[in-house]
Symmetry: C4
Subunit: 232 residues, 4 copies
Amino acid sequence: MYKSLKEECYEANMELDALGLVIYTFGNVSAVDRKNGVFAIKPSGVPYESLKPEDIVIVDYDNNIVEGDKRPSSDTKTHAYLYKHWEGVGGIAHTHATYSVAWAQAQMDIPVFGTTHADHLTADIPCAPPMHDDLITGNYEHNTGIQILDCFKDKGLDYKEVNMVLLGNHGPFAWGETAAKAVYNSKVLEEVARMAQLTLQINPNAPRLKDSLIKKHYERKHGKDAYYGQGC
Amino acid sequence: MYKSLKEECYEANMELDALGLVIYTFGNVSAVDRKNGVFAIKPSGVPYESLKPEDIVIVDYDNNIVEGDKRPSSDTKTHAYLYKHWEGVGGIAHTHATYSVAWAQAQMDIPVFGTTHADHLTADIPCAPPMHDDLITGNYEHNTGIQILDCFKDKGLDYKEVNMVLLGNHGPFAWGETAAKAVYNSKVLEEVARMAQLTLQINPNAPRLKDSLIKKHYERKHGKDAYYGQGC
Amino acid sequence: MYKSLKEECYEANMELDALGLVIYTFGNVSAVDRKNGVFAIKPSGVPYESLKPEDIVIVDYDNNIVEGDKRPSSDTKTHAYLYKHWEGVGGIAHTHATYSVAWAQAQMDIPVFGTTHADHLTADIPCAPPMHDDLITGNYEHNTGIQILDCFKDKGLDYKEVNMVLLGNHGPFAWGETAAKAVYNSKVLEEVARMAQLTLQINPNAPRLKDSLIKKHYERKHGKDAYYGQGC
Amino acid sequence: MYKSLKEECYEANMELDALGLVIYTFGNVSAVDRKNGVFAIKPSGVPYESLKPEDIVIVDYDNNIVEGDKRPSSDTKTHAYLYKHWEGVGGIAHTHATYSVAWAQAQMDIPVFGTTHADHLTADIPCAPPMHDDLITGNYEHNTGIQILDCFKDKGLDYKEVNMVLLGNHGPFAWGETAAKAVYNSKVLEEVARMAQLTLQINPNAPRLKDSLIKKHYERKHGKDAYYGQGC
């Protein structure tokens, strides 16, 4: 059972590695099966070079293991929380990619400096503040999910449009309609983070992209009047 | 028809990818056929790994599709505008290469700091300012072409000598006598952008290259007394 | 004799190269055999592409060559000193990896800025000060071992928890239960060093990770209540 | 004739490319035959992927072509000048490697910040100032040789110990007993340049390496009491 779900999850995890977004086991991707209310996730601490599709673990939204011999990712509860509360999410990726982590450690949102960013989202990429101590010592990974949702509520963001977040002092989570799309968004985030860091090095007073250009580029690729791509 | 034009365009697009100047679909190259008044361009949003020569779209200078089943690049109108007004241009490349974008986002010209730059052009690499809002909401990609020509007019630059430009907050366009040369110029721009960023990190007061050296290096490679290369 | 020890040492040295942590011969790894009181180490100045398992040299804790035709690494006495005084160490790696060296040259500890760091150790990564002149002109590599132990004593650090150090103006040493683990720690150090450098570029006032998060992440992976990995 | 000299030169040029020190044709290596008073050098503007041993050009110290159908590197006169005046030099390499160029464009010597640098040379890596205008408009490449020798005279440097230089606003030249050693020194220079740039980013007040450590590390690898390597 769940063979194709495991395959999808496996492929997305391997792509994370191929894209240079992880070293060793510093990342994980999950893929959801909405009909059955379960998701597939990378097992904890298994290196990519020895990972096999049958190692993938199937978990429900309350973190019960449904299928699999291995212990799921230590971040599983965060994935579960997001799937439970954001029904449009089909896949989630977490990495410790270098530039994304650098912004998270700087505890700063990534400003929308250019069209590469605006082609994907209109908002600054949010950086959620570190949690309060009692939440950290409590159900940490579950509370990480709460922290992400609180951040989106506070900033008035919609997870369907803004499909990535930085956790202060930690690193990025990204999501999408599929696990592959979550990985794609992780790569875009890393590249945008790198461009933004370099932009500030060249010009510390670099201006934010103006609203008309943000809107133009986002709408070229998204929404009913989008004209980018082959329309399929 | 246009088989060899499509091949030339296809090869140049693949080279863009091989040189590390693009991730995913963030770039496009076109090649012109001056005799027939058409150009070949990458289809919109097609990944490089699945791109085939027969996917390339043939378009005229007024953006009419002459041949091809796919939708051409969303930046097609910018290419068309440049081909229409700059008769000596044989190929055009657009990328979101990291360092080029960083300078574009910083909204700064790249100063000619050394001979690597002067081997290719004598001017600072111009950064066109972002467009006015009504031009953005209007015929955006067409107006991007106007913006580039206005920038060259304002700065007194000749497109035959300065074969690259940064669009403020967006990224680079480069061109040349062939599509392959446009890709070459995109790579040179990216490398010069990286060198210039690092130069400013080491010495924020780094001086511009002096005129005699700019002239010497440019003329080693260009013009009637050039002595670089095999003279063919 | 010592065939498997040499193999272990050889594999770990080759991994150092494969991970991009060394150029030319700028690094060395050793593996200890506690039962016999000897360790295997890379021969001095032998390029990785021509290194063979039988080139590995076997040395005792007093730097006597026990087996091998080649001269051992010029850093052998430092390895010997650490093995002699730190009984829990099974392997040691030394590199000139770029970002680790940059922090060593800056003579600064690497602050714990995030969870990537805290997943591995709770302290700032220590930078030992350069030695006094008489220690440098004396038994230099032996004294380098003393310098590392003095640094750990001064800062109240435990080598079993903090398994890496920077030598001011020189570069990193890392260790672990095996040679492979020492190489792993060298790679983690390099990545953490890179993340920290970028963090300071983005936000020179980036705060240190708070204690509750340091503790949480370290204990997820280490100690009796660890729940990361497959528990084997 | 000169078959093995051409082979040596060819191999060294290909290694320059393999080490990532050049893009396109931005570099050249030569190898000298002291007995016959000639040297082999890369032809001008020939891409590495199509370079063949028989393309290599043989030139004497007065820039006369002795053998070969192709035009030699545009930098040939600089190579010739150095071979003529520095009799101990066996090979010379010139690149536009990124970090080396960045320091050259910053017009700054690279301070000896650490042992990676001191393992190879005890002095700061010198940056020769740009030439006077009349020297640039005159016999430029020949005068570049003069500029390098003047720089060494002014700073009291010995080319046998300091086997690399930056030309202000241009890039690096490195040399050695063989062409392969010149390429090695080019790679070391690039890595040291990168480490030094990062060191200053982390700590703008990073101190120069102290004299005792410079001496210690240099003498570990060079001179009569050297104990690095296999002594052959």
